[in-house]
């Protein structure tokens, strides 16, 4: 049977991809951010996942407003990155795991989550940057991927509570997969940031610290916020916290906190990282 080894939440700011491409990991601006990742990589080397289920949001690469799925799951043998329009270098394709994807789709649909299924899907920086951070210089065989995309572009967005419950369903789906596979869930996005409007540049350190505490031991408290609350407290793009709730919903109760890092700013964003191990 498949086993969930744990989960990682990490920011996915495009500037990180540029910093990696330019080899700036030890630059004074970047060191406090990149310095958080070696411990996460060590943990991955210990738990040796075969598959990463990627919980993320597309920023207008694969999905446009003509068709905007609330929840979309990839079911392809391979996922490609592409030009997002503003100069981030593209990276090599990522292997998929169509068998696990279809099992997850069947299972969450039976659990009343009516997801959109994608046999072709371009993956943007929210998918590629965290994988670059966690598997630097990756080999194609390092890890297979299953993308789970959440709509954070066009309101109404799925509520934090609904996302937490999707996590429960994803957890049941993965753990009922009859084949042997070690699975890590990687939630990308956050923490507080706002790109648009006169409030651009908004960051809320106090709220982020609250989230870093609660995501471990009391995620249901975070799930009780509305999207409107999250926009107010974490900024228009800070709503990406919903991906963290999907991930957390798929893990055990309780979990063991392995590592965390928090740094302001990376570009316009408060960057967070957390590694949670399943207790079992």
């Amino acid at each position: 049977m498949a086993q969930i080894v744990g989960g990682i939440c990490t920011s996915h700011i495009p500037a990180i991809g540029n910093a990696i491409a330019r080899g700036l990991e030890d630059d004074p601006y970047w060191r406090p951010f990149f310095g958080g990742y070696p411990r996460a990589r060590e943990w991955l080397a210990e738990v040796k996942p075969d598959v990463a289920v990627m919980i993320y949001n597309d920023h207008g690469l694969n999905f446009f407003l003509d068709k905007m799925p609330t929840f979309a799951i990839g079911a392809a043998a391979e996922y490609r990155n592409a030009d997002e329009g503003w100069g981030l270098p593209t990276v090599a394709p990522f292997p998929g795991d169509p068998k696990l994807s279809w099992h997850v789709i069947e299972s969450v649909m039976a659990d009343e989550f009516d997801v959109t299924t994608c046999q072709e899907m371009l993956v943007d920086h929210a998918f590629t940057v965290p994988l670059q951070l966690l598997w630097p210089g990756r080999n194609r065989r390092d890890v297979r991927t299953v993308p789970v995309a959440l709509n954070t572009v066009q309101h109404p967005l799925p509520s934090p509570s609904r996302c937490f419950k999707l996590g429960h369903a994803l957890g049941r789906a993965i753990e009922s997969f009859p084949e042997n596979a070690r699975v890590v869930l990687i939630a990308t996005g956050g923490m507080s940031h706002q790109l648009d409007g006169e409030r651009a540049g908004f960051i809320n350190k106090e709220f982020d610290q609250h989230c870093l505490e609660k995501i471990v031991d009391a995620p249901e408290e975070l799930a009780s916020y509305t999207i409107h609350d999250l926009v107010r407290l974490a900024g228009t793009q800070g709503v990406e916290l919903i991906s963290w709730l999907v991930m957390r919903g798929a893990l055990d109760e309780p979990v063991k906190m392995i590592h965390r890092n928090y740094h302001i700013p990376v570009s316009n964003t408060a960057a967070g990282l957390m590694v949670l191990a399943n207790a079992a």
Partner: protein, 114 residues
């Protein structure tokens, strides 16, 4: 301060804005492709006409005015592909929207961490 809803300086990109901004966002989405970015630069007015932008949207595009683009129904994820054509990143547009210099905007972000 131009804003929508009850959070100052904040646009909630909902159905009303998505409907209003559809042609503008569709044009900006096309800028994922280098050939389309070039076609825009070659003949900006003709490119806007192809997507059916209204006068408000065309004017905001001409002025590269992010707040006016948001007001015209633009969504920041697609607008970033437009401003990217001119090498403007999120800190440049943050500075523009808040009326600061880029250095001032960056200093404010750093200050949020202290």
């Amino acid at each position: 301060m131009a804003s929508r809803g009850d959070i100052p300086g904040t646009y909630i990109f909902d159905g009303e804005l998505a409907l209003k901004g559809y042609p503008l966002n569709k044009m900006c989405y096309s800028f994922n492709e280098a050939a389309n970015r070039k076609a825009f630069l070659d003949d900006e007015e003709a490119y806007c006409a192809r997507f059916g932008l209204n006068d408000e949207q065309r004017d905001a595009i001409r002025r590269r005015d992010v707040l006016a683009l948001l007001e015209a129904g633009g969504n920041v994820y697609y607008l970033a592909k437009f401003t990217g054509i001119f090498g403007l990143g999120v800190q440049d547009i943050g500075a523009q929207q808040t009326g600061m210099s880029v250095d001032e905007f960056r200093a404010r972000l750093r200050a949020a961490g202290t």
